[in-house]
Amino acid sequence: MGEQLRLVRSEPDELTLSLDGWEGPLDLLLELARGQKVDLTQISILELVEQYLAYLAQARALKLEIAADYLVMAAWLAYLKSCLLLPKDPAADPSPEEVALRLQMRLQRLDAMREAGARLLGRDRVGRDVFVRGDPEGLLLVRKAKWQVSPFDLFAAYGAVKARSQPPMHVVHPRSVMTLDEAIERVSRMIGMAVEWTAIEEFLPRTDDPQLRRSALASSFVAALELARQGRLELAQDAPFAPLKLRAA
């Protein structure tokens, strides 16, 4: 890169002038700036602009193809140059000097990173300058589950199994039921009034408790069968599941 630049300066007619080698306009600017002074903080932006524009003019004269971004930079630099040369406009914000300073800063940044990259590559790199062990045995970490369960968990689990599998133990809670004796007594007492066919439901006690009602129905049915056997009442049903009717015999 530096060689190209020297060629450009010392022998402007050399055809080695090329833009392909530059990584964009900023790269070219940086290279031109380095030609001015070693310390980038001391460069003259105006001079840099001149150099850049001259470089592009040469390239154009040699009919080299110039990528658009180089031309954009050229236009921008030409504008910056004119701003720097014109009488100061106090209203300009940022001022041309400030813009020039920023350009200088950008060149420094790029330069710093370029140098950092070179220093990084020059370090003692693993596999080039320093070497790790050629044939390591290798480490293996096997993860093993440490199963956790407390005695309580164990006993509770067995209790749960037992509770599930043991024949269920029936605890009979006091329930509202009508016993068969009660039903016989009640139906035989009421049948005397039933001259006409009367649905069995009419013989049940009035209740909102569905359990008592089911129990009373079942007991009353059995009571009706018993009383029919004794010849004290008659049973009739028009069809299966049709209402069951009773009347006195």
Binding site: G134, D135, L141, K144, Q148, G159, S165
Partner: protein
């Protein structure tokens, strides 16, 4: 440490295979490689690594008595699933017991994995086969089982009456178990 010794050391270290003294010499140049190797071997005595010769070739290796470090198992606490806990309890109370019997008692099939987990944990072992149809494999608990649960012998397992007294035999429905809290923890670890 002199330069020649350092060179031999580094060469041996970086090599991907054992090297003869001549091969080392090719790398390190002029010098008495054999003497350097002997000197290094002495220096590394008592270290965690050592320099050894096998059939005229030299290499570094980890000290044999520390080989166990290279393959380490780390224990991570994991809660036993409810299925596994129940299976373990059944084996504990009924051993020796076949898989079919465990399933009959649990009322649910058990996966192979459940028994594997219990055997891996070191709490259950196989205990021969029962003479009879199908000769089923039997399972029993191990001494570690007793140790883990703080039992002197299987007779220390709480009896049915003890369980009943502790309220552990009440027919609890799932909701009640969740409310109990203890069992809720296991319910997400169901493995079959």
């Amino acid at each position: 440490m002199d330069e020649f010794l350092r060179s031999v050391e580094a060469t041996l270290f970086a090599s991907s295979e054992p090297l003869t003294a001549d091969e080392i010499g090719n790398h390190v140049g002029e010098g008495d490689v054999a003497a350097a190797l002997a000197e290094l071997a002495t220096r590394y005595q008592g270290h965690g690594i050592e320099i050894v010769e096998r059939g005229g070739r030299w290499h570094f290796q980890t000290a044999p008595d520390l080989a166990y470090l290279l393959r380490r198992s780390r224990e991570e606490p994991r809660r036993l699933s409810r299925a596994a806990t129940e299976t373990l309890a059944i084996i504990g109370y009924h051993e020796p017991v076949s898989r079919g019997e465990i399933e009959a008692i649990r009322g649910v099939q058990i996966s192979k994995g459940t028994l594997d987990v219990l055997m891996e944990a070191g709490w259950v072992r196989t205990a021969g086969r029962r003479e009879g149809p199908g000769r089923p494999l039997l399972y029993a608990t191990t001494p570690e089982f007793l140790t883990h649960f703080g039992l002197a012998s299987r007779r220390d397992l709480p009896g049915i009456d003890d369980l009943k007294a502790a309220g552990l035999l009440d027919p609890l429905d799932e909701a009640a178990m969740q409310a109990l809290g203890q069992l809720a923890l296991e319910s997400d670890g169901e493995d079959d």
